[in-house]
């Protein structure tokens, strides 16, 4: 009964490729997020969606395009992957915005 699940867990790809990471939450939350964790474990928000509507776009390159087909899903598509995109990407969700966020297990993206 995973609350926030994301796939794949590991993703290795070549520079220039396009890839997607999927996220689903079964908590009934209205708000979903994508965070990026770099090699120094620093966590930074990328996007926030509330009920399928984009709320936050934290100056992420437009090669990154989130898509929310419904409020239980928030996928992340990345075009023209670069070496610097290598990181762990976490999906999260929360009830109203000012409550704790529940995180998925992460997707470790390695661009070679």
């Amino acid at each position: 009964d995973t609350a926030v699940s994301q796939t794949p867990k590991y993703l290795v790809t070549q520079m220039g490729n396009d890839k997607s990471i999927k996220c689903e939450q079964n908590l009934g939350h209205d708000t979903m997020y994508w965070y990026k964790q770099d090699s120094k474990k620093f966590l930074k928000i990328m996007f926030s969606y509330n009920n399928k509507e984009l709320i936050i776009n934290e100056t992420v390159p437009n090669r990154f395009s989130p898509k929310s087909p419904d409020k239980a899903h928030l996928n992340l598509h990345i075009n023209s992957l670069e070496l610097g995109d290598s990181a762990v990407y976490f999906c999260a969700s929360s009830r109203p915005e000012n409550t704790e966020a529940f995180f998925g297990q992460g997707t470790r993206l390695t661009v070679v």
Binding site: L43, I55, I56, S94, N98, A101, F103, G104
Partner: protein
């Protein structure tokens, strides 16, 4: 600004001792704070939270203290156990679409 920081990047304690992890935040307008625990290969896991109208909150073996005057947050873990070994993050919520600003993280190691 994004300056939620931790004073100590690593902390090593003996099993059974109490642990204290500190965090400084910069936005005095932040009204909600969370501590997360992240084990290797996993996503951040909620430990405890506190709102700005409180200065102390207790959970099971954990206590969070908030000092708004100096913008300081701490996490106290009583009778630290080997299973507590992880990276601990503080995060502040500025109220902008649920955006969490994370601190640098403190790696807690518990020696048996």
């Amino acid at each position: 600004g994004e300056n939620v920081g931790l004073h100590l990047p690593t902390l090593s304690v003996q099993e059974g001792d109490n642990s204290i992890i500190n965090c400084a935040y910069s936005n005095s307008a932040s009204d909600y704070f969370i501590w997360y625990k992240q084990e290797s290969g996993k996503g951040p896991q909620f430990i405890i939270d506190i709102r700005s109208n409180m200065d102390k909150r207790q959970g099971q073996r954990v206590t969070v203290l908030l000092n708004k005057t100096v913008k300081h947050l701490s996490l106290q873990i009583a009778a630290t156990q080997p299973g507590d070994s992880a990276v601990y993050f503080c995060a502040e919520n500025e109220g902008q679409g649920g955006k969490l600003i994370f601190g640098q993280g403190t790696e807690l190691s518990v020696k048996p």
